[in-house]
């Protein structure tokens, strides 16, 4: 049974591109029924509309957003009874703007950290209107990815994993994880559909959290 209210809510702020200002938002600790309803009623139709545009523009399918098959209800159903899986959502203007699920059972691969516990990000996705790879409209809100990575790091610290996190990036997002998050690129993973695997060690995690705090 999917919960109807999040276990906790952290205040956060997103950048609204149209006015170049930050707006109030919330980081929900736990994806709940409202988030899934937003995904079904708003994300999917909007994604389909954008896919139509890409198709009309004859953009090759291999450049379409790879997460278009993701079924968040299925993902949540799969992990809802597992204590080692957690989920988060960002909500602004009463709409779900991004979602993430994490797994606490995975181990680090980075040389020097092999076998250490980390928070592994199973899935992370922004709403279609917050993405840059979809058709002609600019992303509506910025900052969702960084806030979710920040949350994963803080959860890692809470679990005693010292901020270590890992993930497999979708090809369109490699630049975000390599450059904006400064995660270590451990190369393509043949066991994960050739996605690139990235990890953040404790020092880099601390630096990510501290970066921009007082600027």
């Amino acid at each position: 049974m999917i919960a109807t209210t999040p276990s906790d809510v952290t205040p956060v702020w997103l950048t609204k591109r149209s006015i170049k200002e930050t707006v109030d938002a919330e980081l929900w600790h736990g994806i709940v029924d409202k988030n899934l309803a937003d995904w079904e009623a708003e994300w999917i139709p909007d994604l389909q509309r954008r896919l139509k545009l890409l198709n009309l523009q004859k953009v090759e399918r291999r450049f379409w957003p790879q997460s278009r098959y993701w079924d968040w209800r299925d993902k949540l159903r799969e992990i809802e009874r597992r204590l080692a899986n957690l989920s988060f959502a960002i909500v602004a203007e009463d709409m779900t703007q991004a979602m993430m699920t994490i797994d606490l059972t995975k181990r680090a691969r980075m040389p020097g950290h092999e076998g250490q516990h980390l928070v592994y990000i199973d899935f992370l996705e922004a709403a279609p209107w917050n993405r840059n790879d979809l058709a002609e409209e600019p992303a509506k809100f910025g900052g969702c990815g960084s806030i979710l990575i920040n949350a994963a790091i803080q959860q890692s610290i809470l679990e005693g994993f010292k901020g270590r996190i890992g993930l497999h990036s979708l090809p369109q997002a490699n630049s975000f994880y390599a450059n904006a998050c400064e995660m270590t690129d451990l190369g393509q993973d043949a066991t994960y559909e050739n996605l690139r695997y990235f990890e953040l060690d404790p020092d880099s995690a601390r630096s990510f959290i501290e970066k921009g705090k007082g600027e």
Binding site: W13, Q57, E60, Y69, A126, N179, E193, I209, K211
Partner: protein, 164 residues
Amino acid sequence: MTFDISKTWCRNAGAREDGLDIGAGVIAADPMFTHEGGADESPEASRLALGRFINLMRRDQGLSIEALADKADIEIGELLSLENNAAHLPDVRTLYQLSEVFGVSQEKLMGLSGLTHANDDDDDYVEEAVRYAAKSASVEVLTEDEHEILNGLISVLSENAKHK
């Protein structure tokens, strides 16, 4: 337990993230790539021509990278990569915005970038654009010759250009 994430941090993070996509996770259905995401399969020559065209147009209009990025409402980093990195695969929106600013065909810019494949009957423009771009040399000021080359590129990339 809630987390500590300040407004300043969020604002700076939002700026750093500008123009970047963030998806992570296994696809698990219809994986259509076994490479870095497609960019390496597109012809580098045509993407070099695209970068050269944008560079010439920008300089012809007396615009800095920053000014063009502002005018086209695209990221500075994206524009820099487009002009200088033949491996960079631009966003559809970026090409749309640039086609609007430069008054050329979005479809043809997408063909040059490798995002779309030109039809067999209509793919001369890619070859022609590459040929024009190959004639230009990187210099600080746009010369008369470059003006001529640029005019050639504009005519090749215009909506109504006819190709043999």
